[in-house]
C-alpha cells in the first residue's frame, strides 16, 4: 500500500531516487538561514541592546577597543554591572560595518545549540557563509568537521567577521571554549572574536597574551575615574563638588552600576548632596542598599510591576500586563526605560531588566511576596503559550511546577517529535525529567512514554504508552494528543518488529491529521517524517521492500533541515539496506554515503541512521572483498551504538558480522554471530534467510551437507527474488542441483533485483552447466556475470565459487575479463560502459587545492605547510574529499577526480 495522504507541503511528491534531492537546491541558504530553533525572540538576542540617554561614552575605552580589529581575541571582562555590554554595543554601533552579536542565556544547553546560534548570528550579520557548512542538529554536540568548514570559510574572506559573544559566562558546555579556540585559530585573520564575560573563559589566554594577539579590558579599566563619574552624574542631572565625586568613586570603586544607582537615588531625594554624603559614610553593600533605596522611591504600582517582571528574561507590555493583571502598561515601560530605571530596551518593543538589578529584584520579590513566584511563572507560561512561544512557555510551566499545563502545552503543540529529533531534544528531556510520578493524565503519560522510548527503555515506554491510551479511551480527547500517541505507536511498532501495528498507527494518523490545525503540521515536519520512517522500518523488517521504499523515499525526499535531519538520515540508511538486499551494490553505497553525509552535515551521532549507513557500507565492502575496510566500518558502527534495540539495525549488524566472518574463513563464529536475537512480533524473511544461509554454510564447512540442505529446505521464502539466488547457490553447494536450478528458473521472470542477485544466479547456472559437462555454456554464463560484476566491483561470489569455476576464470577469454579487478595482472581495463557515478556534493575550493597537491604526490605535512594550515585541517579536508568522491584512498581520489574532470 502506498501512502495515500500527502505529507506536509514541504515534502516533495517524487518517488524516485531520494539521493538526487539531497545535493541540489534543497540545501540552499533559505534552509540554513531559518531560525534554528524556531524561536520568536531570537532576534532580541542577535542585536546589541540600545544605549540609554544617560549612557556616557568614554573615548579611552573605545580607543582601546579599536585594537580588537587587529587581534584575533578580545576579552571584556568585568563584574556584573561594570558596563561591559553597553561599551561593546556602543563601539559596535560606531564601527560602520556589521557585527555578529549573540547574547548567551542560561537555558541553552550543549555545544550543538551554541554553534547553531553562532552560525545564525554570523548569517544575520551578513557574513557570507556557503550552505555547505551545515548546521548542528544534535543539541549536545557539534561535528568537528563542521567547525573546520566554518573556520576554513572564514579564513578565505577578505574582511574579517566580527563576532561578539555577550554574557559568555553563561555558556557552560565544557567543550565550547575548546571549539571556539579551534575555529579562532584556524580562521586566522578571517575572524575577530570579542567575548563579554563576568568570568575568565577557558581559552588558553596566556598564549594569546604572550603572542600579543589579544585585546583585554578588565574591571580596573572599566571603573569610572572621578572625572568620568562627574560627567555621568551630570547626565543624570546632578552636579557635585569634585571632592564629593571623588569620595563617591572611592565608595563605589568606580563601579558603573553603583554610580548609576547613586545618581538615581540621589536625584529623588530632597538634598542629593547630603544624601550621598550619608551613603558614603555608610557600610552597606552598595548595590543591595542602593537598589532598595531606588525601588522604595518608585510608586507602589511601579514597584509591583518591577518585582513581577523580574521572573521573566524579557518582557513586552502585554506580558507585563498578564503578570500584573493591569492594563495600559506600554507608556509606563517606555517611561521606565527613558528614566533609565532598571529597564533596558532590546528592540521590537521588548524590554529586559538589567541582569544585576533583575537578580536583586527577584530577591526582593521572594522576601516581599513569598509564594507568588510560582503563580507568576504560571501566568508567564500561559501568556507565552498563547502567543506561540512554546519553549519559553514550557520553561515557565516547569518553573511553576505546573506539569499538567507544561505537558499539555507540549503535546497540544504537536511538538512530541522534538523529543526524538532536533536541537531541543536534550533540553526537553531534561526539563521533563523533573516531572514527578504523582502527575497523572494523558499528556504527562504521553510525554513519559516518549522520553522512555527516546532513551531506548522499551518496556517502560510501552507501559506508559498503554497508560496514556487508557486515558484516551476514557474521554474523547484532543486530536493533537491522539496524534502524538499514534507517533509513539508507530515507534513502538518499529521497535517490536510489528508492521501491522505500524500500518494501523499510520491509518489512524491519516484520519487525525484532518482534525488538527494545518499550521501545526507545517510547523512540525519532524512528526510526519518520523511516522513514515518508523512505518518504513517496520515494513522493511517484514520484507515488504517496495512498500517500505515508498514510505522511506518520501522522508528522504523532504528538504534537508535541522528538524528532519535525523529521520532523513535514518530513512536513507534504510533505503541503502533495501538496495543492498536487492543486490544493487552501487546504489546502496551511494545512499549509505548520503546518509553519512547527512550525519556530517548536521553533526548527528545518534543511531540508528548513521549505524545503518555504516553497516551497509561494510556489507558492500565484504562483497567487494575489502575486508579490512568492512571490519573498520563495523567497529565504528558498534562504537556509536552500544544499545541498538531496533530490529532492523540489529539484524543488519549480525548480517554483516556473519558475512565478514564467513569471508574470513571462520564459519563456526559466523554461525554464532548470525542470529540477531531480537524479539519481534513477526519474522523477518531476509533476516531468517540470512541466518539460514550462514548456518548452512557452517554445517557444510564442517562436513554435514545433509544438515546444511535441511536448514535451507526449512526456509519458506525461496520464491522471493532477493533471496532466491543466494539460496540456490547454497543448495547447489549442499548438493541439491535440482532444487538450486528450480530456484534460479523461478527468478528469471523478475527484474527488480540488481547485479548482486543476477551474478549469483549466473554462477549457479554456470556451475550446474559445468557439472553437467557443458563447459561452453558455463564460460558464456561466466563471461556475462563478469561483465555485470565488474561494474559493481562485486568480487565475493567469484571468490566463493569453488576451485573448478575459478579454474575457468584463469583461462582465456575469461582471464582478460577478470584481470585487473578480480584477479591480479593485466592493465586495469576501463570498461566502456563504466560511467563515473555522479558527484554527490561539489568539492569546496580548499578541498580542490588539497586534491591538486595530492596529485603532485605531496605528503599531508607538505600540503599543510604549503597551504599554511595545520596537518589536522588537511586531514579533515582529505576526509571530506574521500567522502564526496566515494573513495577510501589517495590514489583512488586522484584517479576519480581526473575521471570526472575535477582537476
Amino acid at each position: 500500500m502506498l501512502i495515500e495522504w500527502s505529507v506536509v507541503q514541504c515534502f516533495t511528491e517524487r518517488g524516485g531516487d531520494p539521493v538526487a534531492t539531497s545535493n541540489g537546491n534543497t540545501r540552499g541558504p533559505a534552509v540554513a538561514a531559518a531560525d534554528p530553533l524556531g524561536e520568536p525572540f531570537l532576534q532580541t538576542r542577535l542585536a546589541p541592546p540600545g544605549r540609554p540617554a544617560t549612557f556616557l561614552r568614554r573615548s579611552r575605552l573605545l580607543e582601546h577597543l579599536d585594537q580588537a580589529l587587529d587581534t584575533p581575541l578580545t576579552m571584556v571582562n568585568g563584574s556584573a554591572g561594570a558596563g561591559k555590554t553597553l561599551l561593546v554595543a556602543d563601539w559596535a554601533a560606531g564601527l560602520g560595518q556589521p557585527v555578529a552579536w549573540f547574547t548567551n542565556e542560561a537555558g541553552d544547553q550543549g555545544a550543538g545549540v551554541f554553534w547553531a546560534y553562532v552560525l545564525h548570528a554570523l548569517q544575520a550579520a551578513g557574513v557570507p557563509l556557503c550552505a555547505d557548512i551545515g548546521c548542528p542538529a544534535d543539541a549536545s554536540r557539534v561535528d568537528h568537521k563542521l567547525l573546520a568548514r566554518l573556520a576554513d570559510e572564514l579564513s578565505g574572506h577578505d574582511r574579517p567577521a566580527i563576532l561578539v559573544l555577550d554574557e559568555f559566562d553563561r555558556q557552560t558546555a565544557p567543550q565550547t571554549a575548546e571549539q571556539l579556540e579551534f575555529v579562532l585559530h584556524h580562521a586566522g585573520p578571517g575572524l575577530r572574536l570579542i567575548l563579554v564575560t563576568r568570568t575568565e573563559p577557558l581559552l588558553p589566554l596566556h598564549r594569546y597574551r604572550a603572542a600579543a594577539a589579544m585585546t583585554e579590558i578588565r574591571d580596573a579599566e572599566l571603573a569610572f575615574t572621578p572625572d568620568e563619574a562627574a560627567d555621568l552624574l551630570e547626565l543624570h542631572g546632578l552636579r557635585l563638588p569634585a571632592e564629593a565625586t571623588r569620595a563617591l568613586v572611592e565608595r563605589t570603586r568606580g563601579w558603573a552600576a553603583g554610580l548609576r544607582l547613586c545618581a538615581m537615588a540621589a536625584r529623588e531625594s530632597e538634598d542629593p548632596e547630603a544624601y550621598l554624603r550619608e551613603f558614603e559614610a555608610g557600610r552597606s553593600a552598595v548595590a543591595d542598599f542602593l537598589l532598595a533605596e531606588v525601588l522604595k522611591r518608585q510608586t507602589a504600582r511601579t514597584q509591583d510591576l518591577l518585582l513581577r517582571v523580574s521572573v521573566v528574561d524579557r518582557f513586552c507590555p502585554a506580558l507585563a500586563e498578564a503578570l500584573t493583571g493591569r492594563s495600559g502598561l506600554e507608556p509606563v515601560l517606555a517611561g521606565l526605560y527613558r528614566q533609565n530605571a532598571f529597564v533596558e530596551d532590546v528592540g521590537h518593543s521588548w524590554y529586559r531588566l538589567h541582569p544585576l538589578f533583575g537578580e536583586i529584584l527577584r530577591a526582593h520579590l521572594r522576601a516581599r511576596h513569598p509564594g507568588l513566584e510560582p503563580e507568576l511563572h504560571r501566568r508567564a507560561g500561559q501568556w507565552l503559550r498563547a502567543t506561540g512561544a512554546l519553549p519559553e512557555a514550557l520553561a515557565h510551566g516547569a518553573a511553576a511546577g505546573d506539569w499538567e499545563f507544561t505537558a499539555g502545552a507540549f503535546v497540544d503543540d504537536l511538538a512530541i517529535g522534538q523529543l526524538f529529533t532536533g536541537l531541543r531534544a536534550d533540553d526537553l528531556a531534561e526539563l521533563f525529567a523533573r516531572m514527578g510520578p504523582e502527575v497523572t493524565g494523558a499528556a504527562p503519560d504521553v510525554v513519559r512514554a516518549a522520553r522512555d522510548l527516546a532513551e531506548h527503555d522499551l518496556e517502560r515506554g510501552l507501559n506508559h504508552l498503554r497508560l496514556a491510551e487508557e486515558h484516551l479511551a476514557e474521554e474523547a480527547l484532543d486530536p493533537a494528543l491522539r496524534l502524538s500517541c499514534v507517533l509513539l505507536e508507530s515507534l513502538a511498532a518499529r521497535l517490536t518488529g510489528s508492521p501491522s501495528r505500524a500500518e494501523k498507527a499510520v491509518a489512524t494518523a491519516e484520519e487525525l491529521r484532518h482534525e488538527v490545525p494545518a499550521h501545526l503540521l507545517d510547523k512540525h515536519p519532524e512528526l510526519t517524517a518520523l511516522l513514515l520512517t518508523h512505518l518504513g522500518s517496520a515494513r522493511l523488517w517484514a520484507g515488504s521492500f517496495d512498500e517500505a521504499r515508498a514510505a522511506l523515499s518520501e522522508v528522504a525526499g523532504c528538504p534537508s533541515g535541522v528538524a528532519t535531519a535525523l529521520p532523513r538520515q535514518d530513512s536513507l540508511g534504510h533505503l541503502a539496506l533495501i538496495d543492498y538486499l536487492n543486490g544493487w551494490l552501487g546504489r546502496a553505497e551511494r545512499k549509505a554515503l548520503a546518509a553519512l553525509s547527512e550525519t556530517e552535515q548536521f553533526g548527528l551521532h545518534r543511531p540508528p541512521g548513521a549505524d545503518l549507513g555504516r553497516l551497509v557500507l561494510a556489507a558492500v565492502a565484504v562483497d567487494r572483498d575489502d575486508l579490512g575496510q568492512a571490519q573498520a566500518l563495523l567497529e565504528e558502527a558498534a562504537d556509536s551504538a552500544p544499545a541498538a534495540l531496533d530490529p532492523v539495525t540489529a539484524a543488519g549488524r549480525s548480517l554483516v558480522a556473519a558475512r565478514l566472518l564467513l569471508a574470513r574463513g571462520d564459519p563456526r563464529a559466523a554461525a554464532a554471530a548470525a542470529d540477531p536475537a531480537v524479539p519481534a512480533d513477526v519474522a523477518s524473511p531476509w533476516a531468517e534467510v540470512h541466518t539460514a544461509l550462514v548456518t548452512s554454510a557452517a554445517h557444510l564447512a564442517e562436513g554435514r551437507p545433509d544438515t546444511a540442505a535441511k536448514v535451507l529446505d526449512d526456509v519458506p521464502y525461496g520464491t522471493e527474488p532477493a533471496y532466491a539466488a543466494e539460496l540456490a547457490w547454497a543448495q547447489l553447494a549442499a548438493g541439491n542441483r535440482d532444487a538450486a536450478l528450480d530456484l534460479v528458473d523461478h527468478l528469471r521472470t523478475r527484474s527488480r533485483t540488481g547485479p548482486g542477485v543476477s551474478v549469483c544466479a549466473a554462477l549457479v547456472r554456470a556451475r550446474a552447466a559445468q557439472e553437467a559437462g557443458d563447459e561452453a555454456t558455463a564460460r558464456k554464463l561466466l563471461a556475462r556475470a563478469l561483465l555485470e560484476a565488474r561494474r559493481e566491483r562485486l568480487r565475493r561470489p567469484f571468490l566463493d565459487a569453488g576451485p573448478r569455476l575459478r579454474h575457468l576464470l584463469d583461462t582465456p577469454p575469461l582471464q582478460s575479463l577478470a584481470a585487473g579487478w578480480l584477479t591480479p595482472g593485466g592493465p586495469a581495463p576501463r570498461a566502456p560502459e563504466e560511467r563515473a557515478p555522479l558527484v554527490v556534493e561539489e568539492l569546496s575550493g580548499r578541498e580542490r587545492e588539497v586534491l591538486v597537491r595530492l596529485a603532485q604526490m605531496m605528503s599531508t605535512e607538505e600540503i599543510a605547510a604549503d597551504l599554511y594550515v595545520s596537518v589536522n585541517t588537511v586531514k579533515t579536508h582529505l576526509k571530506s574529499v574521500y567522502r564526496k568522491l566515494g573513495v577510501n584512498r589517495r590514489g583512488e581520489a586522484v584517479r576519480r577526480a581526473r575521471e570526472r574532470g575535477l582537476m
Binding site: G81, T199, G282, S284, A285, F289, A363, R366, A367
Partner: protein, 65 residues
C-alpha cells in the same frame, strides 16, 4: 564541608534571604555568611550567586568540622 564567606558591606535582610541555606552575622562593615556547603558544585554556585547580586567576596575559608 562548612564554610565561612565574608562579603564586603552590610547586606540587607532581604538579600540575605537569597541565601537561605546559610546563616549570617553583620560585623565591622562586613557580612559573614556561614554554614554547610554540600559540595564543590554548591560552592561554585554560591560564588556565581554572589557575583550576580553584585556582592564582593573578600574572604572565604573552610571551617574545621
Amino acid at each position: 564541608m562548612r564554610y565561612e564567606i565574608r562579603i564586603d558591606g552590610l547586606m540587607s535582610e532581604t538579600l540575605t534571604k537569597a541565601f537561605p541555606e546559610l546563616d549570617h552575622v553583620r560585623m565591622s562593615g562586613q557580612t559573614v555568611l556561614f554554614g554547610r556547603v554540600i559540595d564543590e558544585a554548591h560552592l561554585y554556585g554560591l560564588l556565581t550567586r554572589f557575583q550576580s547580586l553584585g556582592l564582593r567576596v573578600v574572604e572565604m575559608r573552610q571551617l574545621p568540622e
